[in-house]
């Protein structure tokens, strides 16, 4: 630690800190544009100038290390001033230069009200301009359907360039030309292909890069901000949902170092237009004509009561979808139990994860933050770039920081970092587990390896065998104390929560695929779908299908009764992310029309079906759920499972198949009903498909 005097106060900071960080540690505010904690240092905006005693000129604090400061003649700590007159003058000068070419279009700029340049011009600028010359004009660039450019406003901080090259790992943005003629663009104005590109909108300190779908939609001060959790993937990114009136206007990331740092994927950010379209806003009933017709709640419930009445529990089933909250599944499970049915499943894709094996068998044990300290990573049957983009960015961050050996068993795809492709299927994995591959030595020698098992390796008949091999690999070697490297990567936000509350078939009961098959065969009469759209809804035969959900997708199309539910931004609830972190959804808007929160629908339905569930409010439901599953009461908590759990998992013997691993996500932009209803996602999907076709040529 090094002593440093900031504005007269001595602080003790690590020598590798920059002056800017040291000033912040001392509580002194330093304005900046180009500097960003998670990007490399550029030092080109000059806004962070501070006075360093002994230096003839002000220094750029973002690019000056504490260890490079000279002590005073008698060994006094170096002195930095951020509030002196020269500093004020320097800042005013920099600001004046920045504003020479910055247009005065704040009133029509989408960044207005949340613009760094605007704020800092107010705080550090001067009140007039000495330049009468024309401002420079720059052509706007097309860089994709998500990011709108207004290049006159660009101040050349190059945050977006550094983000795309460093964090996203897709170096598509660049600065062409030089000096006054410098322009930010993609190569020949092609669309950016990164699935994290939306983050450049947040990074841009001015209004040069703004959200295209959100363009001219709202002003920041008229939005109601709700801090909630994302449901697009199993990472559980922390988001802020901005609403105006009833409508979600945009979605922004929140800072959570343990989960998403400050990034979110494009699907998370831009899916909001899907929340407005294809909505189920009233109950529907399939009439005698075979068409779905609007109905009252009473009529819809009546029809369900008719269909369920008197049936044996074994002929009733329920499948929970990928966006369901833990509370809903808990309630639906109780409802099904009251009907005498054990046919419940939250694993639409047929993943062979069994909560009976313990929580360590289905969560990302090393935790997401554990990737930062991992010393070897093995990815099995997964494409984390599409399944959990933010997690992939974290792996890339770790890989960039220092040499990290990464192996992949599965489909070789561009993950934005170098990896060793070990093989395509279970054979290679078995080889690796037996030590017959050079990468086995890497894993064995590792102290903190992370073995990521994707749903592509688990949603198949030999899933248990693959999980056992993965556990064996995770276990085999000398590990740091308490390190459990088995990391199950889920794709569905609801999955871990569903497994936590045991939304899986009771002994001898039907799984999701069984239910679909039995319904087709006519031995399952009533099927409840809680937002389940990823099953083959056309194969349900003559079963009476009750769809509870928010969007008119595959499930609703097949349903006999539709009960309109709430989307993830419109309800309270709990989501457990892939690492087992319990996070709470908060309602940002109200569901449209007659739609209700799903837990309330299940509760009302239970009344109609004759077994009223013992809770009357959401609070009571949650209390009941927490009483049954205490760990769900620990908000933002992860219950780490030690390596002891691996032994039992590794000892499972099952037959290994031959088929290659397939990645579960075919189209990153279309993984759930909300995304499928979004026009923006459709455009992105079409662009991505075009790129794939081009690459295949």
């Amino acid at each position: 630690m090094t002593l440093l005097k900031v504005n007269g106060t001595v602080v003790d900071v690590p020598p590798e800190y920059t002056l800017l960080q040291a000033c912040e540690a001392a509580g002194a505010e330093v304005p900046r544009f180009c500097y960003h904690e998670r990007l490399s240092i550029a030092g080109n905006c000059r806004m962070c100038l501070v006075e360093l005693k002994g230096s003839p000129k002000p220094v750029a604090s973002c690019a000056w290390a504490v260890r490079d400061c000279r002590p005073g003649p008698n060994g006094e700590p170096p002195e930095v001033n951020t509030r002196t007159k020269p500093v004020k003058k320097a800042r005013e000068g920099v600001m004046e230069f920045l504003l020479i070419n910055h247009p005065l279009d704040c009133p029509i700029c989408d960044q207005g009200g949340e613009c760094d340049l605007q704020d800092q011009a107010m705080a550090y600028g001067i009140d007039h301009n000495r330049y009468a010359e024309n401002k420079r004009a720059v052509e706007d660039k097309y860089i994709g359907p998500l990011v709108k450019t207004s290049m006159n406003r660009c101040i050349h901080c190059t945050r977006c360039v550094r983000f795309s090259a460093e964090v996203a790992g897709v170096p598509e943005l660049g600065a062409t030309g030089r000096g006054e003629d410098m322009e930010i663009t993609t190569y020949l104005e092609s669309a950016m292909s990164s699935e994290l590109q939306g983050n450049v909108i947040d990074l841009c300190p001015v209004g040069a890069l703004t959200s295209k779908p959100y363009a001219f939609q709202a002003r920041p001060w008229e939005l109601i901000k709700t801090e909630t959790i994302d449901a697009m993937d199993a990472v559980g990114s922390n988001i802020r949902v901005d609403t105006r009136g009833r409508e979600v206007m945009r979605i922004l990331p929140r800072l959570n170092e343990a989960v998403n740092e400050e990034w979110i994927s494009d699907k998370t950010r831009f899916v909001w237009d899907g929340l407005r379209t294809q909505r189920l806003d009233r109950p529907y009933l399939r009439g005698d004509s075979g068409r779905l017709e609007p109905a009252s709640w009473g009529a819809a419930f009546g029809a369900i009561a008719n269909a369920v009445g008197g049936r044996a529990g074994a002929r009733i089933g329920a499948i929970a979808g990928d966006l369901a909250t833990t509370e809903e599944m808990f309630a639906l499970k109780e409802l099904m139990a009251s009907l005498g049915s054990g046919n419940i499943d939250c694993r639409q894709d047929g993943a062979t994860l069994d909560p009976a094996l313990g929580r360590a068998s289905y969560v990302f044990n090393p935790t997401l933050a554990g990737i930062d300290v991992a010393d070897a990573i093995l990815i099995i049957g997964s494409n984390p770039r599409h399944e959990a983009s933010v997690l992939n960015a974290r792996i890339r961050k770790r890989w960039r920081r220092a040499e990290l050996q990464i192996g992949l068993v599965g489909v070789p795809v561009d993950l934005t970092y170098r990896y060793e492709h070990i093989g395509a299927g279970p054979d290679s994995l078995a080889q690796l587990a037996a030590g017959d591959h050079s990468f086995a030595q890497v894993l064995k020698a590792a102290k903190r390896p992370v073995v990521i098992v994707g749903q592509g390796a688990l949603a198949r008949a030999d899933g248990p065998a693959i999980l056992a091999l993965a556990a064996q690999i995770a276990q085999d070697g000398e590990r740091d104390a308490g390190w459990n490297g088995l990391a199950i990567l889920h794709t569905a936000a609801a999955r871990v929560g569903g497994l936590d509350v045991g939304f899986v078939p009771a002994a001898g009961a039907m799984s999701a695929s069984d239910m679909v098959r039995e319904a087709g065969a006519g031995t399952l009469d009533v099927l409840f779908l809680l937002g389940a759209d990823e099953i083959d809804a056309t194969a349900l035969g003559d079963a009476f299908v009750v769809y509870i959900g928010s969007h008119g997708d595959a499930g609703a199309q097949r349903a006999n009764v539709i009960l309109p539910g709430a989307a993830y931004t419109e309800k309270s609830g709990t989501l457990v992310n892939t690492e087992g972190r319990v996070q709470r959804l908060k309602r940002a808007a109200f569901p449209p029309g007659d739609a209700r929160e799903d837990w309330a629908i299940v509760r009302a339905l239970s009344d109609v079906l004759g077994n009223r569930l013992p809770f009357d409010s959401f609070g009571e439901l949650r209390a009941r759920m927490v009483a049954a599953h205490p760990h769900l009461g620990v908000e933002d908590g992860v219950m780490p499972e030690g390596p002891e759990a691996l032994g039992a998992l590794a000892s499972v013997t099952a037959r290994l198949g031959k088929a290659r691993f397939e990645n579960p996500i075919r189209d990153f932009y279309f993984t759930n009903p909300i995304a499928r209803a979004s026009a923006v996602m459709a455009e992105c999907s079409a662009l991505a498909a075009g790129r794939m076709a081009e690459a295949a040529e």
Binding site: P171, G174, T176, R178, E180, D181, Y187, L188
Partner: protein, 221 residues
């Protein structure tokens, strides 16, 4: 300086000829493995020379692929340095007229007027016959002999409108031209002969021998 954009008309493709490919590989080999991108300027330069003095979009892509770097990174380099011409240049001469202060004071504006009239009104546009193009550049470092133009690797100094016109005529006609000062003086010595140190009494011994080449005069004991 103006905004530098790629030419609108681009050739179909680009590949190094065997000789340039060998050169490129020598250039790449100068850098340690994993740092081959450092060779970008050299390779773009070879590509420009092979391509008749300008850099086409396929050439930029080709070089980027050769060095395993993103296209945009290569484009950044190509647009940053004015030594890379992004538009076709004259087949006979691409005249770079220095317009920085000393040359400007000594009449470079007149030279540019000649370019405007004889070649093309705008910079970076070949003349009607395609033989010439011109561009204003920043200081090329022969301020003592201002004004000057650079053509390829040769500089023509101490120009006047007359001598510059003659230079273009000679180039046009394919006559040999002499680089260097276009007035009667050697390199950057004073015009019309030495003006200082002319008093022989300043040299107690023999006068220093006339300087030949760049070698230093031998020191006498």
């Amino acid at each position: 300086m103006a905004v530098r954009r790629l030419a609108e008309q681009q050739p179909e493709g680009f590949v190094f000829d065997p000789q340039n490919l060998a050169r490129a590989q020598r250039e790449i080999a100068k850098y340690p493995p994993g740092r081959q991108q450092s060779a970008i300027i050299g390779l773009l330069w070879e590509a420009q020379n092979q391509n008749g003095g300008w850099l086409s979009e396929p050439a930029i892509r080709y070089v980027a692929e050769m060095l395993d770097m993103a296209y945009i990174r290569a484009l950044e380099v190509a647009t940053f340095y004015t030594m890379f011409n992004l538009h076709p240049v004259g087949t006979v001469a691409h005249i770079q007229v220095c317009g920085t202060t000393p040359c400007m004071l000594r009449g470079s504006e007149a030279l540019m007027d000649i370019c405007r009239h004889r070649i093309h009104h705008d910079q970076d546009h070949p003349s009607a016959d395609g033989k010439f193009s011109w561009i204003e550049v920043e200081c090329a470092g022969t301020c003592v002999n201002a004004p000057m133009v650079q053509i390829g690797s040769q500089v023509f100094e101490d120009l006047t409108p007359e001598t510059f016109n003659r230079l273009i005529d000679d180039l046009d006609a394919g006559r040999p031209v002499t680089p260097g000062p276009q007035v009667a003086r050697q390199l950057s010595e004073p015009e019309g002969g030495p003006t200082t140190l002319t008093d022989p009494s300043l040299y107690p011994g023999e006068p220093a021998p006339a300087r030949k080449g760049t070698g230093r005069a031998k020191k006498k004991d």
